[in-house]
């Protein structure tokens, strides 16, 4: 469902109000039991509806890191887990309504050429539309 919004709503990665949702951990400032976004949150952004995925628990973060084969010192595990929300918040920002054909910039060209082509195409379209709207007298 799209939510119409004329102006972009500016949201930091991790909105301050969300911080208050999580009781502070005695050592690192976050609770693992309630870590992450345990319910789906939404962000209004450019008129689009961004759905966050279920947040990871500390145990899930640890399991993911172990699966990646990273031998993380015990002292650092809770700190990394507590920072995982940054990734979740950023990843949520990337998911938005797009057409199926919206391509990634997966082959990064020297900037300028393809974008210029896009702009030129837009200008051509705009010019065609304006000219098409004119009466014979205005032409």
């Amino acid at each position: 469902m799209a939510i119409a919004s004329a102006e972009p709503k500016l949201t930091p990665y991790f909105a301050p109000s969300m911080r208050t949702l999580y009781p502070r951990h005695p050592f690192i400032g976050f609770s693992f039991a309630t870590f992450g976004f345990t319910v789906s949150e939404t962000l209004e952004d450019k008129g689009e509806h961004i759905v966050k995925t279920q947040g990871m628990t500390a145990a899930e973060v640890e399991a993911a890191l172990a699966r990646a084969g990273l031998k993380i010192p015990e002292r650092e595990k809770p700190e990394i887990a507590a920072a995982a929300h940054f990734i979740e918040e950023m990843a949520a920002r990337l998911r938005r309504k797009r057409t199926m054909a919206a391509e990634p910039a997966h082959i990064f060209p020297p900037p300028g050429e393809p974008l210029n082509a896009v702009i030129q195409a837009d200008l051509r379209e705009t010019t065609r539309r304006v000219l098409g709207s004119l009466t014979a007298r205005e032409e």
């Binding site: 972009p8 709503k9 500016l10 949201t11 930091p12 990665y13 991790f14 952004d45 450019k46 990871m56 973060v61 993911a64 890191l65 990646a68 084969g69 990273l70 031998k71 993380i72 010192p73 650092e76 700190e79 990394i80 920072a83 995982a84 940054f86 990734i87 979740e88 918040e89 950023m90 990843a91 920002r93 990337l94 998911r95 938005r96 797009r98 919206a102 391509e103 990634p104 910039a105 997966h106 990064f108 020297p110 900037p111 300028g112 974008l115 210029n116 896009v118 702009i119 837009d122």
Partner: protein, 465 residues
């Protein structure tokens, strides 16, 4: 007696007239390194003998009438991710402490061919990402304006060494702001050119599609001189653009009058709120541009957090792909800042990366369209003056959306320009952004600003605070 501070343009002119000896200039910088770098830690390797030999060779050439240009005999420093033939290139990391390249990076070779003297290898955040760190083989560089403060990263050594007058210029790299951040905090001019403008061949990668090599120096003119030598097509870099390289220094002579500038105010007023001193600095800079005959109008683009999320997910994903095997095998050989930030990349999915690249395409198109009737964009380069080291947390780069990352996402040329000092004497900066491959306009406008203000006459105090 060689002055403590000289720009490349000043020294180059004196050398060309044979009023300054490259050997004396190099000796004076080595003496300055000896005197000051114990406090700054900007160098991780000083190449004294090699530099003096090169300076003698330059002097002989010049005396024989073979002056190569404004970099001939000029001592510069290289961020220690630029590979140097038979000289260790470590990325400031234990992981590559024994890495001795067999060839120079393309840009190093070009600077050498232009006659520059390589004074040494400069500190960086570990692999241009993890820092500031106190658990690496070398300490982090310190800010010459106040040694309790951060230089910005990751081209930290270049920022400190240029500001302190230990070198006249240097190389940096910029994946999310690593040239412009240290330039802003250390009071330099720092240019991230267009993606593809300077070869990345032989520069240790952080993130393939976001990495830019570029110059850092005291003035915009010096950056133009360095860029001239470094730029140009290189078949060894698959992203290198085969585009003509204009005469950047000549472009500085042209008037800035008539330039159309878009001000992205929301980046630093709401999205990542800059402090009052920074806002005032930018407001004053806008007035200077208007007085120079430029038109300035406000521009709104997507929220900064979108640009930063896009850039960071791409950066982490690409960097993780590079370091994945070594992270598995030698996790604790990396510094804590690098390894713990990089561990977060293991949580990013393939779909996240693709979504970031889809957003990247949208954002690139958005900026290109927004700049259709503009020549430049101005916004903040940093939200404040340099913070103290203890104010920079391990995950600081994720806490506030970066003001510099948007132009790594788009690959646009972007420059940090000093726009004054706080009441306690710390540099402030703005960022000037051009259209792809139009570094000449960025340099022209930034140079006009420098000439219209007095900031370049202020240097760090000695002894260092």
């Amino acid at each position: 007696m060689v002055p403590d501070f000289l720009t490349i343009a000043e020294a180059g002119a004196l050398i060309a007239k044979r009023d300054l000896s490259p050997v004396e200039l190099t000796q004076s910088r080595l003496a300055r390194i000896e005197r000051l770098d114990g406090q700054l830690h900007s160098f991780i390797r000083v190449l004294g003998d090699q530099a003096l030999a090169a300076a003698r060779e330059a002097e002989a050439e010049i005396m024989a009438g073979r002056w190569r240009g404004p970099l001939h005999g000029i001592p510069i420093g290289l961020k220690d991710i630029y590979e140097t033939k038979r000289v260790p290139t470590t990325g400031h990391s234990k992981v590559m402490i024994d890495h001795v390249p067999q060839a120079d990076a393309t840009s190093v070779r070009r600077l050498t061919e232009a006659g520059a003297i390589m004074l040494g290898k400069l500190a960086t955040h570990e692999f241009a990402f993890g820092g500031p760190s106190f658990d690496l083989p070398w300490p982090p560089a310190r800010n010459p304006w106040d040694t309790t403060r951060f230089t910005g990263g990751s081209s930290s050594g270049t920022g400190a060494a240029v500001a302190a007058g230990l070198v006249l210029g240097g190389t940096g790299s910029d994946t999310g702001g690593s040239i412009r951040g240290p330039a802003a905090y250390c009071g330099l001019a720092g240019l991230k050119p267009s993606y593809g403008r300077i070869s990345r061949a032989g520069v240790l990668p952080l993130a393939f599609s976001l990495d830019h090599a570029g110059p850092m120096a005291w003035t915009v003119e010096d950056c133009a001189i360095l860029l001239q030598a470094m730029a140009g097509h290189d078949p060894a870099d698959p992203a290198s653009a085969d585009r003509p390289v204009p005469d950047y220094r000549a472009s500085l002579a042209r008037e800035a009058k008539g330039l159309r500038i878009g001000l992205i105010r929301h980046f630093y007023e709401t999205d990542n709120q800059a402090n009052e001193a920074t806002r005032q600095g930018i407001a004053s800079a806008v007035k200077v541009f208007e007085d120079l005959g430029c038109s300035v109008r406000e521009l709104r683009v997507s929220p900064l957090a979108d640009w930063a999320a896009c850039g960071i997910v791409i950066m982490l994903s690409e960097a993780y792909a590079i370091h994945e095997v070594t992270l598995r095998e030698r996790f604790v050989d990396y510094g804590e800042a690098f390894r713990d930030r990089m561990a977060l990349a293991a949580l990013i999915t393939g779909a996240d990366y693709v979504q970031a690249m889809r957003l990247r395409r949208e954002l690139m198109t958005e900026l290109a369209k927004a700049m259709t009737d503009l020549d430049l964009v101005i916004t903040a380069a940093a939200p404040s003056e340099a913070p103290t080291f203890d104010a920079v947390s391990k995950f600081a780069i994720f806490e506030r959306p970066s003001l510099t990352m948007p132009f790594n996402v788009t690959g646009s040329p972007a420059m940090s320009v000093c726009c004054g000092y706080t009441a306690n004497g710390l540099p402030l900066a703005f960022q000037l952004v051009g259209k792809p491959f139009d570094e000449a306009t960025v340099l022209k406008a930034a140079h006009a600003y420098e000439k219209a203000t007095t900031w370049r006459s202020i240097r760090p105090r000695s002894p260092l605070p």
